[in-house]
Symmetry: C2
Subunit: 269 residues, 2 copies
């Protein structure tokens, strides 16, 4: 792959004040090491979780591969008692399974993956993950379907189908138990669990709360100003649609140049 | 230059009906040969023009080179009696001159070059021109300033300054006396006179007249639907401007994808 690759920087022993004053304002992903997460990193073993969680039934995603595809939906929904799920998820090979003896399990507590309008700490309590992030600046290279990239096999992308993907700058990190990854709002992330583990996401609002959709508990919706802008844009496009194709195409391109000139960041990092 | 080059197709002995039915709807430049233009092609000699035009003073563009640059304005305005102008313009080298003995003269009767919202016949009555055209589809490679390309030296462009210009498809033709070039609305054209000559442009409206700005005698203004669309777009951008830079940039890029999806022609010829 021709694209640029970067390691997500790691910082050890950063205080809350240092983070807020020096790191947070840069709006770039970073890994914090050695944050005191309490007893969970050692306590949340398979046995402990099974015991605490009990037999309450949970709805899980089951897939043949580690990479869930939320566009083509390469997974099935199944139900298992929580303790059973934890035990199965921690196995290398399964004797009891839904699809195959190598199947992977994924439980998320909030149902839908929160969209990326909020800032996020991904706290790796136990286990290992590999996370690859892409800047919102590179959205045009990611072949979005809604807010998700269609390019799932990021390590071996189909460049005939997704030629621009090679231009996307790739920020990569490996998370081990105790690591905290800061994912700024709008950054795309592609996560692979490398072993059984528990991650906890903490989301918060970076902007004043009036910027966010009030009906939006989980941060799934676009910022209100952005939704309004797109609605107004749709009115502009309706006007343009009165013109024959060649004129509409020409003026649409002029509108794009206008947006690029007026609203794109001049800061091309 | 790496770009694609095409010859503008030439058609001989095409009737009005054939043109309107088969050629005009393709909305591509073409040269009509052998159209009966009346006596002008033989009659409009230097002597005849001098005699008919007389000594009436006319305001002309005078430049050291054949390519007038209407962005950087590489020319000066001067006044000459019409007969004097015609004689000087027909000379190889000038004994009387404003700038240099090789200076070029250009007289246009309508003042401003009409913008490209109307269809156009460029009728080459006498003399020779080389015309290079670019499709409105390639506007994004032409580094527009207003409706004009900043790339003037199209035969030897500064690709360090204008790297995308090499992607623009170039349509070229040489016009001799009697040729009629059809320039569809919105097509960019770059004209070099290769010898003294007279061209007559005939503009007409391709779309129903309510599509055009009524205050716009010379076709200088954008189509009304396009002007309205850009005004509405400006309101959308004003809304987006409420957001901090990183969010504004992200949603502006989403708006661009939206325009490309909704309003760009899917016909990528």
């Amino acid at each position: 792959m021709a694209g640029h690759r970067f390691s997500v920087p790691r910082f050890e022993g950063v205080s809350q004040e240092q983070f807020i004053e020096h790191l947070y304002p840069q709006r770039k992903p970073l890994v914090l090491e050695g944050i005191d997460l309490g007893a969970c990193t050692s306590k949340w073993t398979v046995d402990y979780l099974s015991q605490i969680g009990g037999r309450k039934e949970v709805k899980i995603h089951v897939a043949a591969v580690a990479q869930m595809d939320f566009i083509s939906k390469n997974f099935v929904y199944r139900t298992l008692p929580f303790d059973k799920l934890v035990q199965r998820a921690a196995e290398e090979k399964h004797t009891e399974f839904f699809i195959s003896e190598d199947e992977k399990y994924y439980l998320r507590s909030l149902g839908e993956d929160p969209r990326k309008v909020m800032d996020n700490f991904l706290i790796q309590v136990t286990g290992k993950k590999r996370v690859v992030l892409f800047s919102p600046r590179d959205a045009q290279y990611l072949y979005l379907s809604g807010s998700k990239s269609q390019v799932l096999n990021i390590d071996n992308p189909d460049l005939a189908k997704y030629p621009l993907f090679s231009k996307a700058r790739r920020y990569e990190c490996s998370l081990k138990a105790g690591d905290v990854l800061f994912i700024p709002a709008l950054w795309f992330h592609n996560v692979i669990s490398e072993e059984f583990g528990v991650g906890v996401n903490v989301f918060w609002k970076h902007l004043p709360s009036e910027c966010y959709d009030k009906t939006d508990t989980y941060g799934n919706k676009d910022l209100t100003a952005a939704s309004r802008a797109v609605q107004i844009l749709d009115r502009a496009l309706k006007t343009l649609a009165e013109l024959p194709e060649e004129y509409r195409d020409f003026y649409a391109r002029r509108m794009v140049l206008h947006i690029q000139d007026k609203a794109y960041s001049k800061n091309f990092e």
